[in-house]
């Protein structure tokens, strides 16, 4: 059994307002194996983004970690100093954000922004780093990488900007890529291209991915294992196929029923979509049951 790359154990995050601490994440635990694509899916406010920010060490006040461990290659990220965390971030753990326009610096060319990664994390000189940046752009299949490296973010389309983000994130060959709604702002055909790119590049390099999305379709088409979050809890976790084929938790069942499925109207006629509140009597009880399926036995251990 390989050791997990990321092992989040009983992570609690609270928001301190006045003298009261409000729980935001309630003991979230999950593991990501090296090279695995793991998806966290949930509706707004379920805590999926807070989870990713906690892993990156980017929680802002009033949010703070109130308990638990985040083990990355066996090392607890919560114990690291800010300086050590900075060295890790962007180098071993990288992140792609939802809005590529706000995540890129508008005053600097994209080539320079990618080159910065090599200078900061690998100690390269600027000249060499600029050359590597062009290679990085080529690797995310940006046409004319030479010319594009001299572009400012506003000169690029949304899809290209997101490719730049991916090039930056993968520049140092991280072990873990966190993708927080990476395609939400994009058109469907561009979204399909960007998802394929992330999938292929990570598979090639053996990068593990923590994929965060509210879109069940995106998660199903990219991840091997999925966790469903509701109100700060991981209520169900399973292999993708099993989770979508045989959802165990009533919230997951409600979510899947609420989704209009492509092709279902031609097969079964127009069915009323499931109103999640009509099948769930009491939302406050949803987090009392959790279904976490054991990982498929690998080397004898569950």
């Amino acid at each position: 059994m390989t050791a997990p790359l990321l092992d989040v154990r009983g992570l609690k995050v609270a928001a301190r307002l006045g003298d009261r601490a409000h729980p935001i994440l309630k003991e979230v635990s999950f593991q990501i194996m090296p090279g695995e694509a793991y998806g966290l899916v949930g509706e707004s406010g379920s805590g999926k983004s807070v989870t990713s920010l906690a892993v990156m060490g980017l929680l802002k006040k009033p949010l703070r970690v109130a308990g638990g461990e985040i083990l990355f290659k066996g090392q607890d990220l919560l114990q690291l100093s800010k300086r050590e965390m900075r060295r890790l971030r962007g180098n071993r753990v990288a992140m792609i954000f939802q809005e590529p326009m706000t995540a890129l610096n508008p005053l600097s060319t994209v080539g320079r922004q990618i080159a910065e990664m090599f200078v900061l994390h690998q100690g390269k000189g600027w000249d060499e780093a600029q050359r590597l940046a062009v290679d990085a752009l080529a690797s995310v299949r940006v046409p004319n990488p030479d010319r594009r490296a001299r572009n400012f973010p506003h000169q690029m389309s949304g899809g290209l900007r997101q490719r730049v983000m991916i090039a930056m994130a993968l520049a140092c060959n991280p072990d873990l890529l966190i993708a927080d709604e990476p395609t939400t702002a994009l058109d469907v055909t561009v979204q399909a291209e960007v998802l394929r790119l992330i999938k292929e590049l990570c598979a090639e390099r053996g990068t593990a991915v923590l994929f965060i999305s509210h879109d069940l379709g995106v998660i199903a088409s990219t991840c091997q294992r999925v966790g469903v979050m509701y109100s700060g809890c991981l209520v169900e976790e399973n292999e993708t196929q099993a989770l979508f084929g045989d959802p165990r938790h009533e919230y997951t069942r409600g979510l899947l029923g609420a989704l209009p499925r492509l092709g279902s109207r031609s097969q079964h006629g127009r069915q009323r979509l499931v109103d999640i509140d009509s099948i769930i009597s009491d939302r406050s009880k949803l987090t009392e049951t959790r279904f976490i399926a054991p990982r498929a036995a690998e080397g004898g251990q569950p």
């Binding site: 469907v188 399909a192 069940l216 379709g217 088409s221 609420a258 492509l262 031609s266 979509l273």
Partner: protein
Amino acid sequence: MTAPLLQVDDLHVRFPIAGGGLLGGRRTLYAVNGISFDLAKGECLSIVGESGCGKSTTALSILGLQEATEGSIRYRGQPFSGAGGPGRMQRARAVQMVFQDPYASLNPRQTVRTSLSAPLRLHGIKSASEISDRIEAMLADVGLTPEQADRYPHEFSGGQRQRIGIARALILEPEIVVLDEPVSALDVSIRAQIINLLLDLQEKRGLSYLMISHDLSVVEHMSDRVLVMFAGQVVEEGGWRQIFETPAHPYTRRLIAAIPDPDVALRRSERSERSADLPMLDGRAFVADGSVAPDVFVRPAPSELVEFAPGHKVRLAAAH
């Protein structure tokens, strides 16, 4: 067969844009290039396409918020655009719009009652009791309670605000409602509730919907007919079955193939790989398969929308 409620005939919208450079002349942006369609009573017609394809501009023209450069829009056989068209007041009673973002489309300083009573008052209803009755009936129809009428938008959740947006659009009892991405800002569970509500209201009131969306699974679920737009033109038009079961145009197929759908991703249901037979193609090319971004500053090459099966049309390059 009754006359269609709304007829759009060869609609063009062009925007003059200041050209590049200091001495650059004016350039023309070709936003909508010859769109024609009919909307029947009680029908849901969807326009799908990606950002910049002209679907919102088309909708704005119908609402009278964007002047058409060429072409005509008729409502119940009467001109509905340009100089001969109706004024704002008459238009408001015929067509209303539900916006994408329920947060931005309500006035934060007005209670729901104020928002809903203003159109009634403007349209000549003076009696306070009638106004209040109509508001209460409207709120009940969209699944809100009369007590909620005196609250402000910030006191509601996203789904509830979209219900208010729908109530605001329907309070004048229009026949046509333009739905501009009505559920794309909402969470999955709320989205299902709003879709169900829209379908119920359509059935109950015999509404005609013109829905603009990029979410093809929602479009398949709700529409009777679908227009696929690319670069300001309709590239394919047909009933929902024709578009989703036997798509003909390569762009339509690309759009459908690009949808991340759990069933397809997991191969639990095979997506139909069939595409329509095109006997009349004889060497004529499809216009724009969507693999290259269009140049919006160039007048599109001549082409025609060819009907190859009843109601199913596809755009081909002009015959030589």
